[in-house]
């Protein structure tokens, strides 16, 4: 039987340049029609330090990073020691035999990458030798990599005419080394060519593209891992007429500036991570109170406080719904895949305009740093909400109607005061009890507009549901499929719309005996929210800074059944 997927891990020291090789390998395979997902953890230091990245290649869409490693490529001794135990029983470890000296076993495979590469005449072909060896080991047709090489370096004017044949030669040398030793995983099935075009990107790129598709006009932010790349993307791509992007001096400036811009009529966003998000508490309350649409992206990292900047966690849920003092309940959308990062961002902008207030897009390190292929979005099919703008002239009252009212925009009719204190219909401060009642109810009633969102719901008859959120979706879905294979009676529910939950889904959840929530935090934050909404929910938690493994979930779920 052929394999349907495999996992290759590359491990060494930051700066050794193997990361681009790893991404190149993933990308080459996606070009051939395979699906790929990368996973990496970095130390917080800038250069050097133990670094690794793995790529899972599959004939099906990849749900998780892969529990175990089929082939490990190591670039130093430390990497070998740190990772050797995660290689599968029948997997392989590959290394440059001139650089490392690893005790021999039938698992371990030393090839003189560097030396063989140089024989092609290209002094930098070592990685190509390595990739050729890899392809042979995992049973990927060498032509997949050859095509990649041709496209990547095919521009003769730029790269000269030698580089392509040299690299192909290197690929072959690597492949031959492996062939000669007769080592091989069982072959992988040929890719099923998908009928939709694919793009290959990470979660933060997907969020940035989603914001662009939703018509973002204003972005300011302050650098913070793992959200910085969104700022960098915007700085590159949002410098346009009638748009504005800026690195501001703090997260407090960021949140209040985007509120100012949105008050001025612009679709506005900022992105941050935990520490910056906490600093935005007061500003988020202002946007809620004054009813100003904004999108705030929180790319979660390990918390609390400065926490674990380069590790993943899903522990900002409680504080993103209720970040500030007073009665607030912020809408939260938590994408679970790179694709959902794109569509979830568009929905976040739509929600902000629909209910006229702040929306939190709750992403996470594990999505931000993951490279993945997804179907290329079709622009013409995207639904983008426009702002409802007031045009009526005389004595318009911004906060009068019981529900959503068109927003007046400076320069246009309907001047009012956007007010963080309790206010009357034109925005002037008031302390009248009946006004606080009226306005509080107005602010909460608007949330009803957001309660008809999509959700996944499979095997609805089962009295027990598996319901992960955010980036735990992938490993949970894979676990769910494993349980289905074992004919275990369990249902599946999922939505990225965490607050407010889709109304119909909530009714379903309440009818279950148990809703199992895999989530990457200590408190079991989502299950706790579900219980407060009268759902009998229980969490499977993990707080290691790493995503779930599928096997772990299968075991834990089975224990709960």
């Amino acid at each position: 039987m052929k394999n349907t997927d495999f996992v290759v891990r590359f491990a060494g020291e930051g700066g050794q340049g193997f990361l681009s090789a790893a991404i190149g390998f993933a990308s080459a395979n996606t070009k051939a029609g395979y699906h790929a997902q990368t996973f990496a953890t970095f130390p917080s230091q800038i250069t050097g330090g133990p670094t690794w990245m793995q790529t899972r290649i599959s004939i099906n869409p990849v749900l998780s990073r892969g529990d175990e490693v089929d082939v490990l490529v190591v670039f130093n001794e430390y990497a070998y020691e740190a990772h050797k135990n995660e290689v599968k029983e029948n997997g392989f470890i590959l290394y440059d035999s001139d650089q490392l000296n690893i005790e021999d076993s039938n698992k371990v495979l030393g090839i003189a990458f560097e030396k063989l590469g140089k024989t092609t005449g290209n002094s930098r072909a070592a990685n190509m030798v390595m990739m050729g060896a890899l392809a042979e080991l995992v049973g990927v047709n060498l032509s997949v990599l050859e095509d990649f090489v041709k496209e990547r370096w095919g521009n003769v004017e730029r790269y000269g005419e030698h580089i392509v044949p040299q690299n192909i030669q290197a690929l072959k040398l690597g492949s031959k080394e492996v062939q000669e030793r007769g080592l091989k995983l069982s072959e992988i099935e040929s890719p099923k060519k998908s009928d939709t075009q694919q793009i290959f990107l990470n979660g933060n790129d997907a969020i940035s593209l989603g914001a662009y598709a939703a018509g973002i006009e204003y972005y300011v932010g302050y650098p913070i891992s793992p959200a910085t790349t969104i700022l960098v993307w915007m700085e590159k791509n949002l410098v346009e007429k009638n748009k504005f992007v800026y690195q501001v001096s703090s997260e407090i400036e960021a949140i209040t500036a985007i509120i100012g811009a949105s008050y001025g009529g612009k679709k506005s966003m900022t992105a941050t991570a935990g520490p910056g998000f906490s600093l935005m508490s007061e500003g988020l309350g202002l946007a809620w109170m004054a009813e100003i649409p904004i999108v705030v992206v929180d790319v979660q990292r390990g918390g609390p406080a400065t926490g674990l900047p380069t590790k993943t966690e899903q522990s900002d849920l409680l504080s993103s719904i209720n970040p500030a003092h007073g009665d607030v309940s912020l809408p939260v959308i938590a994408p679970g895949t790179v694709e959902e990062c794109f569509y979830g961002t568009i929905e976040a902008f739509n929600w902000a305009e629909k209910y006229q207030g702040p929306v939190i897009l709750l992403s996470e390190h594990g999505l931000a740093e993951r490279q993945q292929n997804i179907p290329k979005p079709n622009i013409s099919k995207l639904n983008v909400e426009k702002r409802l703008i007031n045009k009526s002239s005389e004595n318009y009252h911004r906060y009068e109607s019981g529900n959503i009212s068109p927003m007046p925009i400076p320069g246009l009719p309907g001047p009012y005061v956007a007010n963080a204190s309790e206010h009357d219909k034109m925005g002037d401060t008031t302390h009248l009890p009946e006004r606080h009642v009226e306005m509080t109810e107005r602010r909460f009633k608007k949330l009803d507009i957001l309660k008809n969102s999509n959700y996944e719901y499979i095997n609805a008859e089962s009295k027990i549901l598996l319901m992960p959120w955010g980036g735990s979706k992938g490993p949970s879905l894979e676990a769910y499929e494993k349980l289905q294979e074992q004919n275990i009676d369990i249902g599946w529910a999922y939505t990225m719309f965490l607050n407010p939950l889709p109304e119909k889904l909530l009714i379903e959840l309440r009818s279950k005996n148990l809703v199992i929530v895999p989530e990457l935090n200590y408190l079991g934050q989502f299950s706790s929210l579900l219980r407060s909404q009268n759902v009998n929910a229980q969490s499977i938690t993990q707080y290691t800074g790493l995503p779930f493994k599928v096997e772990y979930l299968v075991n834990k779920i089975t224990e709960l059944l």
Binding site: Y218, A257, E282, P377, I379, P410, M426
Partner: protein
Amino acid sequence: MSEKKNPEYDFKWCPGCGDFGVKKALEAAIKKKTIETEEPILNNVIVAGIGCSGNMVHLLEGEQPYGFHGLHGRTLPVAMGLKSSRPELNVTVVAGDGDFLSIGAEHIAPQAKRNLDVCVVIMDNAVYGLTKGQSSPTSAEGMITSSTPYGKTEVGFDPLAHYLSLGVSFVASGLSSKIKDLSELIYQGMIHPGFSIVHVQSPCTEYNNTYEILKGNIKKGIEPLAKPIDVSHNPNDLKQAIEVISTPGIPLGIIYQSKDEPTLAQKYENLINKSKQKDFETLLNSYSI
């Protein structure tokens, strides 16, 4: 006294509060600006801080501009968001000394370095009015307030020197009771292309009544502390400006005004010229495999 825009609004300044004068001056400046520039009043936004002073935004009489009354200390970033996205608006910030120089102090330098084209009117009473009389950065060392019952232990903050050192491109100093002069200063700040601050002495009759000190009292032989700047002063000269604020007393008038310093909007315009127009499809295609 000011007529309320609507009967529910339940804040009034105390009798004699300096902010009444600032209100009249601001109203006149806005009026002049709309007439001179032939821009509609709806292009005006008042961004207010939290303090007695910030209530200005609700108390303005006559044709109403837009208003934003947000958080304590955050006027400037709100104004930054608004003005950088809508450069055609006339954005005026009103705030107190506590709001602007204590909790909001971090926001001044960035706007100065960017040269954001907004006009800031500070109502300085050297005290926290709305929270009932605590010391503020501009309270003098040794001053007794409810939060400094044995005297303030911090050196009093010199706001004008601070603005100049940060490179604020228009710095003026006014007195709330000199409404006409003040109005002209605010107007000049509004039309100045760049970051403008009009720092106004606006006494708090309830907690720090400085009228007599500021205006003097001939009968008692008290010299006025606040005096108009000599007409010979050239506000385009930073050195002269520094000298003006270094002489004892509070100078009234335009202290400094830079010439031809590009505003943030102008600088941003240059960036746009450097960058390539994008469209979504192109951006998307850069991720094609």
